[in-house]
Every structure is written in structure tokens, then in C-alpha cells.
Amino acid sequence: MANANAESRYLLWGWFALLILSLCIVQLGGGRGGGQVITAVLGIALIKAAVIIEQFMDMRHAPRLWRCLLHAWVAVLSLAIAVIMAL
């Protein structure tokens, strides 16, 4: 019971962090973004994705290969977008 309550609190903190990060990302993006803005927006998206993967998907206790695969999807996609936008 205590574990479940701690896990629920942990999820609620994750949700709260995601809401704050979403507000930040909208404030940052949208204008005529230079390289720094794009990097910041994608950086925040990376952090948000990490929260979803680790907390919501409960991957922190999963085999490393699967965990790395998910994080790699986000990282490679963000990197690809940043490189393409910079070209």
C-alpha cells in the first residue's frame, strides 16, 4: 500500500513536471527560431519524453536494451530534426 502511494506521488510529480515543461516549450517556440531556440525546444522535448518513458511507461525497471531503444528513438529523432533544420 505504501509502495503504491509512493508510486502514485511519483507519477503526479512527473505529470506536474510535464505540464510546466509544456508551458516552457510553447513560450520558447513559435517565433523566428534560431539554432539556439530549436536546440532548447528539442532539449525540452527530450526531457519530457524521458519522463514519459521512465515514469509513465515504467521502464526504469525494464531490461536495458528496451529502455535504450526507446530513449534512442527520441534522441536520434531530435538530433535528425536539429541537423535538418540547421542545414
Partner: protein, 197 residues
């Protein structure tokens, strides 16, 4: 120096949540969306002015509202899974119903946005930006609708107390699908609504 069995005893047990089949499906979906998002980024790099003008016609606050409703829905599902795991299935069902309602807010906002854009003549044939916008967000929208159907099934099963708290892979698989939808939106939203390269 510890012996080998002692070393294993200190290692936490690692378990992949959900079914392996669901994970294969999730990887396939993530690959598909990655290809589409990269296509969008490449098209933008080739025609920056067109994409900037197209993006200016979208409402960022609408995008934010959709993000918040999807994230809230994801959090409620994760909380529901925790309740089912500790055998409080009725409470889990309430949380899953709340997740469904939050997803419904996304569907309502997205439908309003689609209706508004279509009313302005900004349909799939307008230009490259709107072609890719409708394909990307439309495909995601279909995934959301499918996810909502899964949430209804999960809620019903939890309501009847038919999940096995000792073997929660069925409810975890449903939840994983929804979190995948969230994860895709987290990458799709900045690329489509925010980043003017």
C-alpha cells in the same frame, strides 16, 4: 569479495512491462512516425517560407491545450495501472474513465481545429505544409481514437475486477499503447506547431 549468487541477489529484477507483441507493434509505429516527422522536417528545410506561413495559421495555444489533455490522460492511465496492480480495480476503473474523458477533450479540441482549418480552405490539397500537417496529425488522431477504444475496454475489465493484479501485462499493454501515442505527440507537436527553422 561476494560470491556469484550473492551478486545476483543484489541485482534488482528487471521486467519488461506489457506483452512482447505490443512492444513489437510500438517499435513499428515509432519507426513509421519517425519517418513522417523527418519527411516534414526535410520539406520544411526545402521550403522555409511556405512552412512559416502555414504555421502562422495554426493556433499554438490550441496545440498546448491538446498537449495538456494528452499528458493528463497518460498520467491518469499510469495511476490506474498502479491501482489495478494493488488489486484496487474499481478505483483503477475510475481513473481509466477519467483518462478517457481527458482524451475526449483532446478529440474535441482537435476536431474543432480541423473544422476551423477546413472552413478556411486550408485542407490537405492546399500546399505541402497542409498536406503533411493533415497526414501527420490525422494519423496521430486515428491512433488516439483507437487508444480511446482500448481505454474503454480496460475500464470495463477493471470495473468487473477481471484483471489479475499478479499478472498485469494485459492492462500494462493497453497503457503502453496510450503512452506511445503521448510520446509521438511530444515530438510531433514542436515540429508541426512550434519550430520555425
Amino acid at each position: 569479495m561476494s560470491t556469484l549468487p550473492e551478486a545476483f541477489a543484489t541485482e534488482p529484477v528487471r521486467r519488461l512491462p506489457g506483452d512482447l507483441a505490443m512492444w513489437c507493434f510500438i517499435l513499428a509505429e515509432l519507426t513509421l512516425f519517425a519517418a513522417l516527422i523527418i519527411t516534414f522536417a526535410v520539406s520544411q528545410a526545402l521550403n522555409r517560407q511556405l512552412f512559416s506561413a502555414g504555421r502562422a495559421l495554426l493556433d499554438r495555444s490550441t496545440g498546448l491545450d491538446m498537449t495538456l489533455s494528452l499528458l493528463s490522460s497518460g498520467a491518469l492511465i499510469a495511476l490506474g495501472v498502479v491501482q489495478v496492480r494493488k488489486a484496487a480495480q474499481r478505483r483503477g476503473a475510475y481513473l481509466l474513465i477519467a483518462a478517457f474523458l481527458s482524451a475526449l477533450v483532446y478529440v474535441w479540441i482537435k476536431s474543432q481545429e480541423y473544422w476551423h482549418l477546413a472552413h478556411l480552405g486550408l485542407n490537405i490539397e492546399r500546399d505541402t505544409f497542409f498536406t503533411l500537417f493533415w497526414i501527420l496529425t490525422g494519423l496521430h488522431f486515428v491512433h488516439v481514437l483507437l487508444g480511446m477504444l482500448i481505454i474503454v475496454c480496460m475500464s470495463y475489465t477493471a470495473w468487473r475486477g477481471e484483471f489479475d493484479p499478479q499478472a498485469p501485462s494485459a492492462i500494462e499493454s493497453g497503457a503502453l499503447y496510450w503512452h506511445m501515442v503521448d510520446l509521438i505527440w511530444l515530438m510531433l507537436f514542436p515540429v508541426v506547431y512550434l519550430i520555425n527553422g
